[in-house]
Symmetry: D2
Subunit: 337 residues, 4 copies
């Protein structure tokens, strides 16, 4: 059972509820978020059924634990969530496009790309400072230096910025410089990291693990909401299958499926999923056609010399052409871009 407290619940009210739960022989799990506190209850819940917990002072709502995810579900909140990132809305009529290089390599590189994608119609600037790389000998990102470049470039061109957080110890730095925190596919079940960003005030972009079911993905989002941060955007980025013609298999059916199960916005990453720049345009169109609230696209001015993921990056001119084509597709399904 999940007890969601009102945002104005007092500490005394919280304590009172916890005491009652314990007295009934149950184990309360308290998640104190910035905006509200949530209490998960573990044990034989039958004893709670006779307790009118809903009328306790400070309680907003009580949810039975039938579905494994609660706060992310459409049952909990039927209207669609719109997440605002530095003023850019994700989940509204306009399809939000995040674009930029895979890795931040230098300020010049980043600024050049930022200007180009802004001009072509992108809403947010993406770029990696902490890079999860399979090999310890591969370029690991510029770290905090890269974050500063990202912040600066975003300010310069007038775009909010999103970047990946890999370790709880770097949360402060990422919060300082970024408008949105990305949790990468490999960390989708790094539960300590999820708890920490759940305590942050920054919106979170939660990528689906390459081998995670939709249910597990929503459960990971639940970790963030259960810690008080309701500004979560989901991102389908391809799952691992037997097919090796593409880098991963973009599971676009996850887009309408997630929208049915959850109120959270969902976007797609055709660059990582396909691993081939020639497929990015077609799959971006497909994503918008089936209801994606946004896209995240890798753009590089010089893909052959990119420090990472060159083969899947679009040059700015192709990105511009794609944006024009996407406008038509978005319009055909009642969206803007």
């Amino acid at each position: 059972m999940i007890i969601v407290l009102r945002s104005d619940a007092t500490e005394k009210q919280v304590k009172h509820i916890i005491d009652r739960v314990k007295k009934l022989g149950l184990k309360p799990m308290v998640s104190r978020g910035i905006e509200r506190t949530i209490i998960g209850v573990i044990g034989e819940e039958d004893v709670l059924r006779v307790q009118p917990l809903e009328v306790f002072p400070g309680v907003d709502r009580v949810m039975p634990v039938l579905a494994p995810y609660k706060l992310v579900s459409r049952e909990f909140k039927s209207e669609k969530t719109v997440v605002s990132v530095g003023g850019v809305k994700i989940g509204a009529k306009k399809v939000a496009v995040m674009a930029g290089p895979c890795s931040i390599e230098s300020y010049d590189q980043l600024f050049k790309i930022a200007k180009a994608v802004k001009k072509a119609g992108a809403s947010l600037l993406r770029g990696g400072a902490f890079k999860p790389r399979t090999s310890p000998y591969a370029f690991q990102g510029l770290g905090e230096e890269g974050l500063k470049y990202l912040h600066q470039a975003g300010k310069e061109v007038g775009m909010p910025v999103v970047t990946e957080l890999m370790d709880t110890r770097d949360l402060g730095a990422v919060e300082r410089y970024a408008d949105m925190i990305q949790i990468g596919a490999r960390n989708m079940q790094n539960f300590d990291l999820l708890k920490e960003v759940g305590l942050s005030k920054k919106p979170v972009l939660l990528k689906r693990g390459m081998m995670s079911t939709i249910k597990e993905w929503l459960m990971s989002a639940e970790y963030i909401l259960a810690n008080g941060n309701f500004n979560v955007v989901l991102c389908e980025r391809g799952i691992r299958t037997f097919e090796d013609a593409t880098r991963f298999t973009l599971d676009l059916s996850a887009v309408p499926m997630v929208k049915k199960l959850s109120h959270l916005p969902v976007i797609a990453d055709p660059s990582h999923a396909t691993g081939k720049w020639g497929l990015v345009g077609p799959m971006a169109k497909a994503a918008v056609a089936c209801g994606s609230d946004g896209l995240i696209i890798e753009v590089h001015t010089n893909p052959e010399e990119a420090f990472s993921d060159g083969t899947q990056s679009l040059v700015p001119s192709r990105f511009g052409t794609m944006m024009k084509e996407l406008k038509k597709v978005a319009k055909s399904v009642g969206r803007d871009i």
Copy 2:
């Protein structure tokens, strides 16, 4: 090495080439199709390099065996193939929609659905008479009786018909009653069946195996073309992955990928792939947006009582609504429907 003979090559010319190939210590594999004969050559091909086979009488072209598939590749034929099924073109500007019930249950049921889908804009009528069922105790289809119903219903409403062939022994019956022969996912590597439909004059709809790579799929198409039948349409129908929220995972990136590798038309089956009627519309839109040349959709007037696959069937009214929405998406990518 593949030696493609001219369609007017004489038996004597064929024999002459075979003799030369054997004399060089190589093994010729002769595929005699209705329209042309193709000779595959196995062995140390180096000895062939010095032989000007192209100038031999009867030879149309000689292809080295670098890519595993030859006749289906864009290298072999750069212009897109348009397959005509009873006058309906697949692979042209207009997106071809095949619709109908999963199983043919009775003439009345079939005729009612046929009229409805025709009215909503479908181009071809689909319906199964031989059903591949996991359980021997499940409904196995009406067999030849079903084929007759299909033929009759198609004639009545004015639509060419497509149906699945499962066994080489039924080819004659299917050829008699259907305009297009479907090879199902479970038979994608039933090589004897592929050879037989390769010798048929009817166009073939080749579904991708649920666990087959794009390369294997194209190789199976190659079996059909190598036996002389060049009228093949490919159909992406979902691959098997770890995700169980959907019945299969529709691999839409296969659509632009196949179009890059092959000249053959490719369509998508969002009904079987998702297994959920609520996802059919969004995924149909996505398929059209990324370049699909057609769709195959299950429609049933009474899904709850369908003999098979009820949960993924659209009722005719929803099919009609979807067709209207698809028109806009098709237009946005320069197609009609």
Copy 3:
């Protein structure tokens, strides 16, 4: 509901039961096997509950349709089945080893290998005459000529022989020359083929499809039993996963799982599964350790020049060494080899 008739049920008794089933508004599906007739019943079974079908003359037993497979299940038959192939028992204390080349290339090649594997302790000779090949240009097998070689070599060295059947039209030839009919992974859901071998008197080796769940595999076996042939041996040969270090992923947990669910014997194929001769020995040992009733191993005197699957074939000397090591493992789990 499944009605299993007694082996001595008369045609009149069968007809009587069918009439009663129809009168109740249900659809009977009659499978007439060589040894007994089985009637599957489709429809609202509740009406049957009040009918004491078990007491009808000719009825052996009536089974409710809770589990999807009936005749292959442990509930239907609690004692383990032992299948006899030309006198060699599969499913008994002794682990049965089938060995031989992937493809039959010539009588000399086959005979040499047959002698070697017989000497090393193999019980059955395997060899492919009809070869399912991904490419139409690859060696397709010697066909009936190969079957004759196989029959002859088996007679010469004194081993029963097993070979793959790919098409219903070849059943007669395979029955003539082989002691056991193999259904390959790609044909595990070729339901017409399953029905045909279900009508045959020859034992069947049913390989698991590379994309098939254990449940689907047992359902395919059910097709064979439901048509009257109870002499089925299952073979785990690797499933397709994302891992590409091995050709397939040998799912050894399927061995104890199948033995729990079914009374049928189950063997393993480490050659096809791993695709690497260096892994065949370790995985053969693992298979025996977890309860496999047999093994099927590719052996070739000259793997580098094999017409197919050379990289996974053992030379006879390595096969001999492996057999010696397997003896110890078999003994450690209470088996012989």
Copy 4:
């Protein structure tokens, strides 16, 4: 290129090498481990080929970057590594068995199980204090309190202990109380965590990610070795596939494959992989038969009431029986247990 320095290399020597690498226009990546420093070199390595780096003072060996993993490879170290955990050797003749509950629930529970598994022949005690749980509302482990219980129970019965570390911030606590640090499947690509345990002096048990190839797994081990910690044991624990009869698919072919590619010991986890206690025994035997250097087994005195993973836990008596059977299998392949 990887430059492995001698363990007695001075800071001055390190600096000198770094300077030379930079002067050549390359990017040095320095990993300063407890025992030795390793320098990865990124950039156009051709310029290095003419530099006799091997003769520089402080350099132990220079390795070209052909294979993606260096330090874990058999090329780097041909003899098998034996990792000592509190005196227990892993990778030697004796198969090491780690056993204990999934979660530490109380001292009493833990102590009771510890005594039982020790008596049955286990060498190490396992137990989770930090639990990675899909749901934020599931039991998350006792945290540091659990670590203390584990330490105490291990001391009491005389067994070294192993437990999972999930977050870099908890490394100190885990190092204080445990003899071996486990990195769970979900954190196999938590690269910051890998770097931190690479700097630790404690041996590491690195589980394979459920979605990771063998190559990626070895690359993650490389992160640990590249940071100076060479005491790594690999653990195959099942990969995610389409099969749902078991929780995961235990990929036992990974055991002989890893032993061929790497000098590191490898063990298997049949409990997590199968998710069914009835399959643990057969798969443990299979693992030992194909060369596994150890096993990790879940044991619980009261599986029905376990806080986590009850269905896959053995009761102590079954564990005892299994250990006796395993002794025979171990002996049959020249090992002890």
